[in-house]
């Protein structure tokens, strides 16, 4: 017993050190899993509040650039709207006034990025939306140019977003040409403007300059959100492990206004998938 007390006294600082290191290691491992709730995250009210204030200051320096971008987006949407109005001939179209039959699947919520990160291996963003804006886990985050990430940890007013520039990120994507071949969008951690499309079947034909879009295969991203263009294919056209390098449309180091997409049918889709497993 005395030996034990002596041991504890002699190594008391070392034991304290080990204890704290174990806690830190636990937090690191916890941070690498998507589905665990996070204790150390910038989405809590104190850290989020700090970022809220700092982004309020830095926003002023980007106002002109950001305005230009939003006007361009508006312009595109107005033009698309005009085209659609041409197609829909009101005299021939049946207008449903019954709201029960009307069904909207996606809803877009606009927000702003408070903290952008792109230089690390596992990047996370922080946005100024939270539970009070009906944000929950696993929602798509995009902007007018393309995909950005998936919401991960939500507090009342802030949300942490797992960027596509994260080694744990995996998003189903496909080629925009007529084939429906799908692959997984990953990031190798090197260049923040280039991501990789993996697991394409060997018969899929990829050319330089092909547009890559989301596949709509998961309940998170709708189909057809822009990602980027193929710049080269690693491995031969027929090899099993074909990897396509993709130049993103977004400049990931320069993001501000974003949209979070709510999928109203998510629970229904999940339930069907669950039932199919049984």
């Amino acid at each position: 017993m005395q030996q034990l007390v002596y041991f504890l006294r002699k190594y008391r600082f070392f034991l304290f050190f080990l204890c704290l290191e174990t806690i830190a290691m636990g937090l690191i491992i916890n941070n690498h899993s998507f589905h665990r709730s996070k204790f150390v995250s910038s989405a809590n009210s104190i850290v989020g509040g700090f970022y809220h204030n700092s982004s309020a200051i830095s926003d002023y320096f980007q106002l002109a650039e950001e305005n230009k971008r939003l006007v361009a987006e508006n312009n595109e949407l107005i033009n698309r709207n005009e085209q659609l109005l041409k197609i829909i001939d009101s005299s021939k179209t049946f207008l449903s006034k019954d709201t029960l039959k009307y069904h909207q699947q996606y809803k877009y919520i606009s927000g702003k990025i408070q903290k952008n990160q792109y230089s690390s291996i596992n990047n996370f963003l922080n946005i100024n939306l939270g539970k009070s804006d009906h944000i929950s886990k696993e929602m798509a985050v995009i902007n007018s140019k393309g995909i950005i990430g998936i919401t991960e940890h939500v507090s009342n007013h802030y949300t942490r977003v797992q960027s596509i520039l994260n080694q744990n990120s995996s998003i189903s994507a496909k080629l925009k040409n007529n084939s429906n071949h799908m692959g997984n969008l990953k990031w190798d951690g090197k260049d923040y403007n280039i991501v990789q499309l993996e697991g394409l079947p060997r018969q899929a034909k990829v050319e330089k300059g092909d547009t890559i879009i989301t596949s709509g295969n998961s309940a998170i991203f709708p189909e057809g959100i822009l990602i980027g263009t193929a710049i080269n294919v690693i491995g031969t056209q027929t090899s099993v492990n074909k990897v396509v390098n993709i130049q993103l449309f977004n400049d990931m180091s320069d993001l501000k206004n974003i949209y979070v997409i709510t999928n109203f049918d998510k629970i229904e889709i999940r339930n069907i998938e669950l039932n199919a497993d049984e």
């Binding site: 304290f16 690191i28 995250s41 230089s119």
Partner: protein, 168 residues
């Protein structure tokens, strides 16, 4: 150093690290980690519980802001634990000297060795944990070297600029 001044300095360095230095991205990915000067500013004491505890929470604070889980807490605590060992090796100081110890009374060469050793140990652990795999050792070493050099330049410039105001 007076406790209030020390506290102000640590808060200032913390905010500087979180809002400015984390966004330097030299060469696209190299950041200085100046918050390691916590180890050099915190006074020496025979009772090491407060220091180790503060190391952990200071690092954890940085982790909260940079969404890195616990890698800053881990590496700062690690370097902090071995602080006294390197103090013994480089300066030949024992517990009696802790109270009166100051970098300004020591020769620059010894201080340089001490600071460089602790900085590189801290940065190496930090960057290895950040990468979380050991396949790419080359880039870990390179990144350690770059960001370590940046940190050291900033630290020595800073301590030279403020050496009259702070005795520590």
């Amino acid at each position: 150093m007076n406790k209030a001044i020390l506290f102000t300095w640590l808060v200032f360095i913390f905010l500087l690290q979180v809002f400015v230095l984390n966004n330097i991205n030299f060469f696209g990915y190299v950041n200085p980690y100046l918050y390691i000067s916590f180890l050099f500013l915190f006074p020496l004491n025979k009772n090491r519980y407060p220091f180790l505890g503060c190391c952990f929470f200071y690092g954890l604070g940085i982790d909260f802001f940079s969404d890195t889980g616990g890698i800053h807490a881990f590496s700062l605590l690690f370097a902090g634990y071995f602080r006294l060992m390197f103090l013994r090796i480089f300066f030949k100081k024992t517990q009696i000297d802790y109270l009166l110890f100051s970098f300004q009374k020591e020769s620059f060469g010894l201080v340089f060795n001490y600071v460089v050793t602790l900085t590189f140990i801290h940065h190496f652990i930090l960057i290895s944990l950040d990468n979380f795999n050991f396949q790419d050792m080359g880039s870990i070493f390179l990144n350690t070297f770059y960001s370590g050099s940046l940190t050291l330049i900033l630290y020595f410039l800073g301590s030279y600029l403020f050496r009259k105001k702070q005795i520590g």
